[in-house]
Amino acid sequence: MAAEVFGNVVERCRAEEEELLGRWKEIVAESLRGRMTGVELDKELRDLLDALLSALAAGGGTDPGAEAYGEVRALLGELSRNRAHQGFSPRETAVAVFALKRALRDRIGDEPGFTPLTDLIDELGLITFEVYTRAREEVISNQAEQLLELATPVVKLWHGVVALPLVGTLDSARAQVVMEKLLQTLVDTGSEHAIIDITGVPAVDTQVAQHLLKTVVAARLMGADCIISGIRPQIAQTIVALGIEFGDIATKSTLADALMLAISRSGVDFGAEMAKRGL
């Protein structure tokens, strides 16, 4: 039974709770080098120690997955997530738990229940690490999503002409975002011409080409005319070797050429327009 395994550990810890907490806080604060306030840290560790001792007293046993440790796990999860979001390193996060071992050894190292207790703390430390990693992965995937949104601006170049400058890799997820944004902008601005600029796309393979073609076809269904620009010499040669046909879709080497074409297609006398604007 739990009481036998841990002996008088709980009683002794409760008796020396303040001293134990003080020593624990000292070790953790040392590793954090003033990046957390003493009050915050005090509350965190005090809650954690209290939850742990209560769970032990309730006969939680040696398995940290047991029901009695529910509150301890929740507190640890919160602690790890906070650390991960605040940009602390895994070491600085794990030390919050492992430092308790050192504090315990200093105070009650001679107790028979000390060894099983440190084993339990090791397990709890691993939980911290798992939560920390998961939280960091969440941060990364959120950033990837934000990047996806950021990297696809649709800009208005002229009355009735919008452009979509693509930069980087065009995978399926991004192609979907790009297409949706372009079609929505066509509706919102009432534009009849769209220019997709691929100057910033490092390689055009069949998947990228297929996504581009689908976007153009979708835009056409909405009555908009698409021009693909930014086709560099090496991309042109690669597309030819691959055997991709762009059919009757207008393509231009530069965005400037594509803009000229779009404007002239919309029936604007380019010379007169320039003169009117004093260019």
Binding site: A203, D205, Q207, Q237, T238, A241, G243
Partner: protein, 132 residues
Amino acid sequence: MTAQELPIAGDADVVRVRQLVRTAAVAARLSLVDQTKLVTAASELARNTLTHGGGGSATVEQVSSTIKAGVRVVFHDKGPGIPDIALALTDGYTSANGMGLGLGGAKRLVDTFDIVSSPGEGTTVTVVKWAR
């Protein structure tokens, strides 16, 4: 540079293979056009490895003959294999909703193209691009 092997298990790995191939192509002093051709071919083949082979690996290494340098990329998977290689190389033939130009296009983009496949035992595609 010694051979470097990358696993192909997801879309992100295709991007990683592409980047590694580009780095190797730059190191082997391939021209910009040849770099782009090799990177594009690698992209097609890596995606084939992923979608048809169910994942596998890509090995990128620099090679050199007496007079020139080049880059060799080997794609390997343990997937279902290709029953009819000639058909798979035909432009417009696709078994996965693509354009059907990937395999044949990749062959046209590189200097040496070798494919070994038997049903049930997977597929190995070896390509080499030489610097001019």
